[in-house]
Every structure is written in C-alpha cells, then in structure tokens.
Symmetry: C2
Subunit: 292 residues, 2 copies
C-alpha cells in the first residue's frame, strides 16, 4: 500500500478513509483532522489560553502534541487520581513528555481523604475529573479545557446514551460546551480521530505513553459498548464516524431543549462555589461520602 498523499510506501492504514499513509503524511493527516475539528466547531478563539487534560495515555499526549504543533498557547494538566501503580506510571509519562519538550505541566492531586477513585465507580472518577479540570482552569486563568476524547470514546458514550435514551445527556453530548456559569469552555478536538489513529500518532511521533487501560475500567459497560461498535465498524468501516457526526448534524438539536431546561436552575455550591442544581455540588457530596 502506498501513501495517499505522497505515494511513498505506507506505514499505517485507516480503513474508514480507505487510505494508507507514510509516517510524515500520517502525522500531517492527524493534525489536519484536529485543525478541521477546531475550526468546524469554533473550539479555540484567538488569544485563548488552552489547558489540555493529560492522563499519560495516547489520546491526551497526542492531543497535547498536536495542539502545540498547531501553534496554540497550551499547557498540560495532570491530575493525580491515586489509583496505585497505575497513577504513578501515568504521571511519569505525562512528566516525561513535558520535560523532553520543554512544555508546562500543571499538576493537581485529588484532595486528601477524597482518593475515592480507586474504590468508587468510573462515574465518580469522571465527575471528579470534570470538577477538578474546571477548577484548575479557572485558578490558572485558562479559557478552555481540552480533553483527549476520541471518536471511539464519543461513539461509545453516545451508544450508551442512546441505549437508555438519556435525553438530557444526549442534549449535552457536544464536542464543545460553551463557557458560562463559572465553567470554562470544554472542547474535544480529537473526535475525528479513532483510538487506533491516536496510538499510531504517538508511536510515529516518538511519544511514550501508558499503554495499559485503567485497571478500574475492565468489564465496565463503556467497554462493552466499544466492543459492540467495533464489531459494527469491522463490518462497515465508517460506521462510528457516521453514527457520531450524523448525531451532531441530525439528532443532537432535537435533544437540546431537554438539556437546556436542566441548566436553568443552577445555583452556586455552598461549599466550593461550582454551579450545581442542588445545594451542594455532586463533587463535594462525593468527597464528603468518602471522608465519612
């Protein structure tokens, strides 16, 4: 197989594009997919300071690298989740990337006593991360938090939301959530790249990353959704892309009023000031439960 762009021998193929790429053209392809996503969804505005949430895995390191290549004013944020050796190792990869490239990595640990992630379900971890990413961005004067959710992630989340017809989540599952109410803008510039492309990017760009998945995720529903969609994608390459982008284009607007109605009744959390529909925000309640 030859590179679609320069006809040199291809080193990686992307089935849903029915294309192969040489090393340089593949890195170019990934950057272009991210550039296009940022443009299409107006994710980053001129002068914005971007904070990319870095786990040490392939997605977030690829995203950080691409955003730096594209010339954005971007720093990394590493969150110590306290999941034993897994977290220690993930931090090592995040720090190594920053050190070798002279990039700035902000580090935040979960508040003492609230290291619940190693016992609580994945939803609690997701909740904590969203909360602390936003807090760190506000504290550091950043305009945007960028996360490394890729096409496989978003398609699997969408599949789960659709299986349960969680209309409120469907209304909010967008690649960009605007700032407001004490939240900075949240963007997912990797949604046009699949998991395998993110891994390929790191390998070909010479970025070391943590290969193991989080040990807490094994057997969770999200992975089941990914496997089911992988089987569909195998049968019809491009299915995931059509599923996710078709949703954004044709269905997402139908669910937006549902999500908006949930947003109107927000007030400030009595403990941390984060906007919340209740008196105390979900994160502070989680921390309290863990301390008891």
């Amino acid at each position: 197989m030859k590179c679609r762009r320069c006809r040199a021998p291809a080193v990686i193929d992307v089935r849903r594009h029915n294309a192969g790429f040489c090393r340089d053209c593949f890195l170019h392809h990934c950057r272009e997919q991210v550039r296009r996503t940022i443009d299409d969804f107006d994710m980053v505005h001129p002068g914005d300071r971007v904070l990319v949430a870095v786990s040490g895995g392939k997605d977030s390191l690829a995203l950080w690298d691409i955003l730096r290549d594209l010339g954005y004013d971007v720093d990394g944020l590493y969150l110590g989740l306290g999941i034993g050796e897994y977290s220690d190792e993930s931090g090592t990869y995040a720090r190594a990337y920053a050190d070798e490239r002279g990039a700035k990595l902000v580090e935040v640990d979960l508040p003492t006593g609230s290291r619940v992630a190693h016992r609580a379900p994945c939803s609690a971890c997701g909740l904590s991360k969203r909360h602390l990413f936003n807090q760190a961005a506000v504290d550091g004067g950043y305009d945007v938090v960028a996360t490394g959710h890729n096409l496989d992630d978003e398609a699997a989340v969408l599949f789960g939301n659709v299986l349960r017809w969680s209309t409120e989540y469907l209304g909010r599952q967008l690649p960009v959530l605007p700032a407001g109410n004490g939240f900075v803008r949240k963007v997912k510039p990797l949604v046009r790249l699949g998991e395998r492309e993110a891994a390929g990017y790191c390998v070909l760009a010479g970025i070391d990353y943590q290969v193991e998945e989080c040990p807490m995720a094994a057997g969770n529903r999200h992975l089941g959704y990914k496997e089911a969609l992988n089987a569909i994608e195998e049968q019809s390459p491009g299915s995931k892309h059509a599923f996710y982008f078709g949703f954004l284009e044709k269905a997402s607007p139908l669910f937006t009023p549902e999500a908006a109605s949930g947003q109107e009744q927000l007030q400030q959390c009595a403990q941390c000031g984060t906007p919340t529909p209740g008196e105390v925000c979900a994160f502070c309640r989680l921390v309290e439960r863990a301390r008891r």
Copy 2:
C-alpha cells in the same frame, strides 16, 4: 428454578424478567405480553378483521396462535417469495399449522416475472412484502395487517436507523401505523417478546416451524446489529427492551414531524394505485427492473 407464577418446576427462563416459567404459565405469559401490547398501542379495534403475515417461522406462527387464543377474528396470509427450497419448506409449515387447527390461510404468489427476491437484496424483499401484504388485506376486506416482528427485530432495526440517524425512518418506526391513504393499519403485537421467547412459545405450544433463517439474510447488516445488541443484552439483561421502549416513549415523538413531512406529498401509483411519493411506486419499479 421454579415457575414465577405457580411455583411448579420451571422449563424456561427469561433473563430480562429474572423469571422462570412452567409450560402453561409461559404460554400464559406470552399471551399476556401480546394482550398488553395490543391494548397499550390500541392495535385492534372491536370488529376488526385481522390478517397475520405468516412466513412459517417461529414469530409469525406464534403470533397467529396467540391472536387466535385471544379470540381475534384472524386469518393467515402466506406469501410465496420464490426463494427455492427455503420458500417451499416455509409454505409447508404455514399450511400445516392452518390445516391442523382449521384456520384459514390466504396464499399469494409474487407476480410472475418478478421473483426477484432470490437475487435482490433484503430491502427489495421487505419492500415487496409490505406492498403485497397491504394489497392482500385490501382485496380481502381486512382492517389490520399484523406482522411477527419481535423485540430483537425491532431493536436491531432501531439500532440500524440510529447508527445512520435515518430521521425519517426513526419517525415511522412505531409498533402501529394507522390506516389511511389506501393503506390498512399495520401492527406488530410481538414487540414485547424476544426471539427466544417466540421460539420457546412454539416449542411448548407444539407448533412446528421453519428453524432455518432465510439463506439470503446471512451476513447482512441487520444480523450484525442483532449480534451487537445480543452482546449488550448478555452484559445487561433488559437492554433491548429499554432501548426500544425508551425510544417509543422518549425519542420517537421528536422524529415524527420529519416522517410526517414525507407523507404529505403522496399520490397514487400510475400502475397499481398504491400511494407513493413518485409517479410509479417502488414495488412496480422493482418489478419492471426485474422483468427487463
């Protein structure tokens, strides 16, 4: 395991209900599921004459049997699709059921020269069946056509429509389509029963049915969708039910305007009189192509 209803030894279990049943209580359970579906969706009105589309497979024979048990005025309709031995055998099962129970079976063959089903894709077969079921119902003075689509079928069709966000199909994917414009009412009273329950019903009710799937369906996308959903159901029993009925309750109304706009511009087919958005209906065009 004991029967949920009478505590006798169970002969079949239904995981998503977390229940086992003895023979008699399982047949009762199936009838109650169908009765409830018909009531909930107002599928059959007093005095209606019902025509059930019978393929000779488990679903349509179970449906026919249950509708007769429930006391409806129901005849069977068998369509000779001309798919070689498969069709010959399916006709045998349909006729045997009718003969042994003294039930009336209407038989219709595809028009000579249009036996395209054995070469055309599954969508052409579906199109032909919908057309000829309606024609036979109109000709015979029936008010309702009932088909044996079960929960697995409908969930898989829904999954396919959602993967492509075919908003028009989503707006029309209902268990009952009202009469009008030359179409009789179309109903799917088996949507609360899974494939395995329909098979279990036939086995326990002593109904012989064609076990083989249509040879043309092997490897089609629909089967891929079924397999993907089976994996999800295995992980979380009840997922298919929640997916399909959650759709009807929470999402289907959002897509209905889309479907309605497609219905407004119907006219009569120049060849057969069926309502169609074009000059000649899709079935007549299919027959013409096959004759050429």
